[in-house]
Amino acid sequence: MRLTDASVAIRPRSPWEALDLGVLLARQHAGLLMASWALVSLPIFALLCLLLWDYPGWAVFAFWWLKPAYERLPLHILARALFGDTPSLKQALKALPGLLRPQLLASLTWRRFALTRSFDLPVMQLEGLSGQARSQRLVVLGQRDAGAATWLTVVGMHLEMALWLGLVSLFYLLLPAQIELDWSWQSLANAAAGEWLWLEHLSNLLYVLVLIVWEPVYVACGFTLYLNRRTALEAWDIELVFRRLRQRLGGVAYGLLLGCCLLLLQAPTPVMAAEVGNHPLPVTDPIGPEAARLLKQPLSSQAAQDSIEQLLDRPPFEHRETVTRWRFGEDEAAHAGEEPISGLQEWLQKLFKLAELWTGNASLALLFEALLWAALLGLVAVLVWRYRQWLDAFVGRIGLAQRIATPPSRQLFGLEVAPESLPADVAGTVEQLWAEQPRAALGLFYRALLSRLLHDYRLPLHGAHTESEVLRLIQDLDQSELSSFSQTLTLHWENLAYGHRLPPEDLCQTLCHDWRRLLEQGVRT
């Protein structure tokens, strides 16, 4: 096969253009193709008609079924004609037995209904491939032009029917009027009786005639589709250009090559400037467009260039996008594909073992109980999470949080109330202070009382409590002596603190006595 000898212009075409080329090719060799087709198919049809005279339907079916066998001859003729080696009719018919031999059975049986028949035929017949190699080749070829080949077959079927019907109509139109008068449609419908067999054979003949016209076109179209696909795959057009180049420049090239070699072979001699040129030349021209200018302006040329570059780097001038996709890691997938199966099997086996352990319903009930509890807890957690802001805003402020406040504060009402901050002998200290500093003495007493209430009686006191509220809390303790002592103390404390009235002198003795009796022990225990 020499591409330079091809009788068609070899270039990549669209599939439809390729089909058009096929029609053209078929028309160019129409005489030879149709004659050879007729010479092969008509005798076979005659033979079939003789053999199956009583069954015209079966005859035409058998003829139709054998179509792939006849198609080999037109392809042979076209393949040779393409490269200028058009065979004569005699040569073509001689080649037919050799053409029929390879893979005839496959073509007539499981490949009979292939929709891309004419497209596949060259692979088998011209490339001589079979089996695995053929199917791989077909997969490669079919990646692009298979759709057009399928449409070619489908349209071809309809075209055959249309042409056949047209021919039948033409035949009917050509009937003489007298015969037409006697024509009885009803008797025609009952043609099964046998007198009308010749008519059926006649219509079969019409079909065979239609095929004489259409089949070469069909084969030629499939062949050009195949050529087009190979042109694209193997870059025949580029190869052709190179071939032509070679033909044209074949003589000159050697001379050119020699000249180049001579030029390059010259040894480089040291240049005088090389010794001086240790200093690298300035890369930028000092007065060129790249040089820094406008240095005293607010916008120097450098800044302007920078901003221009930034602008050029951004969307209307640059469009960058990052595409992230999921894809399968093929190797890993191959390995991983095996493991889950074994993992699944293992898991199932464990499950079955577990199921064996569950002898009674009790364990099942236990499982469901656990599940229900888990669901309940989850629901509570979800609710708390859902209303967390509400809880923050209100529950905290309404007082739940305050109730939990565990460690009693050391500072209360601006007073130091931790037990360590009080003197060991409160009453003694008070007696000492009473004469000179009654306010300090009473203050110490009140402070000590609060400290005892906080730490010994665990009263939930906090800063906002006023004196009378503290008293009310003490009354809730149901200790009459303690509350009466506290009342006395609070009364005099308030008198002193807010009314600025000094306590009576003898109060000190009473309070100290009561303190020692009621509260002194509480600290020590």
């Binding site: 007073l415 800063g463 409590h465 006023t466 600025h500 009235r501």
Partner: protein
């Protein structure tokens, strides 16, 4: 540790306020009078002791009172009973949607005989003014009370006319959600010293009340006629004077101001109380101290009237309002967290 208490010495100790000896019996008398008045009012109004205390607080402090409650809890009865016990003048305005400002303050009328315009004073020229269902009148009429409540004078025909002292406005209103009510503007609300909430009485008190009402001659309300007039206008002025002289520690004053200031930055309140609130707190604390029979003001006195003083001067944040929280709840949280004074 014996030196520790000396740190807590306050400068106030060095100069204890000398109690004027002549004032003591007078103060006690005033206290007794106030307490007698309270007892008398308790007879008339059963089951609302806290409200009675608050009304007396406002009376002694010289402030105005806004009483809010659903119909039928005895708001008007309370005021009528107070007027009965108080010897001064009493006037009542029933606020209706078509009431005009001149119906409240008064206006000039042409006298045919003297052929002159004569001023006809409105019902505000009195000692005790009951503005019944004040929020049934539109804002135009409500505003007629603004001047007289703050400055105790009414400008009529360009002339300022002073109202007789003591002057006190007792307004009642139905909750804002009820049909046919107009909300009071903030300026008006701020002029009321206290806003009281009347709630339903306890069960045994209600039993007692029903028993008494059904026994009285007038079918469906308590009779206020048997009440004695205990107090004359000049007595009340004297009591107010005594209350305003009650000694007040700096710490307590500071507590009152801190309470009012806390409302301004409290989360959950978008509008805090103004300086009038601090003033009302201190005056209310003094009045309560007198009513208690005390000789000086305690933090408790301030704290007890804080709710009534503050509740109409603050505005709740919408989100808390939507959650169904009341102003009183938020204020109670505030009172529970602002530290009380000590030493």
């Amino acid at each position: 540790m014996s030196e520790h208490p000396s740190e807590q010495l306050s400068p106030a100790v060095a100069v204890p306020a000398p109690a004027p000896s002549g004032q003591m019996p007078q103060r006690q008398r005033a206290s007794q009078l106030a307490q007698a008045l309270r007892l008398e009012l308790h007879k008339a109004l059963i089951g609302q002791n806290a409200v009675v205390d608050d009304v007396l607080t406002a009376l002694i402090a010289g402030g105005h009172v806004l009483i809010e409650g659903v119909p039928g809890l005895g708001k008007t009865l309370l005021v009528r009973a107070l007027a009965r016990c108080f010897g001064g003048e009493f006037a009542r305005i029933q606020f209706t949607p078509d009431l005009m400002p001149s119906d409240v303050t008064g206006h000039a009328v042409y006298d045919l005989q003297s052929e002159q315009f004569k001023l006809r004073k409105g019902p505000v020229f009195t000692n005790l003014l009951l503005a019944d269902e004040i929020n049934r009148a539109p804002a135009k009429t409500q505003a007629a009370l603004l001047e007289v409540m703050q400055e105790r004078q009414v400008t009529l025909e360009g002339r300022p006319l002073a109202v007789p002292l003591p002057f006190m406005v007792l307004a009642t209103q139905n909750p804002i959600e009820q049909e046919g009510t107009y909300p009071l503007p903030e300026a008006e609300l701020d002029r009321f010293m206290l806003k009281l909430r009347m709630d339903y009485p306890e069960q045994d008190e209600e039993l007692n009340m029903v028993r008494q009402v059904t026994r009285s001659t007038r079918a469906d309300m308590l009779d206020v006629t048997p009440l004695r007039a205990l107090l004359q206008a000049k007595d009340l002025l004297a009591i107010q004077k005594i209350a305003s002289d009650l000694p007040l520690d700096e710490q307590v004053l500071d507590y009152a101001v801190r309470l009012a200031r806390a409302t301004r930055s409290w989360p959950g309140l978008i509008l805090g109380a103004g300086p009038r609130a601090s003033i009302a707190l201190v005056r209310g604390g003094r009045a309560r101290a007198l009513l208690r029979g005390g000789d000086f003001v305690l933090p408790d006195d301030i704290k007890r009237c804080a709710l009534a003083v503050l509740r109409h001067r603050v505005r709740l944040a919408p989100e808390l309002d939507i959650e169904g929280l009341e102003v009183d709840q938020v204020l109670q949280q505030l009172l529970d967290q602002v530290p009380a004074p000590r030493l």
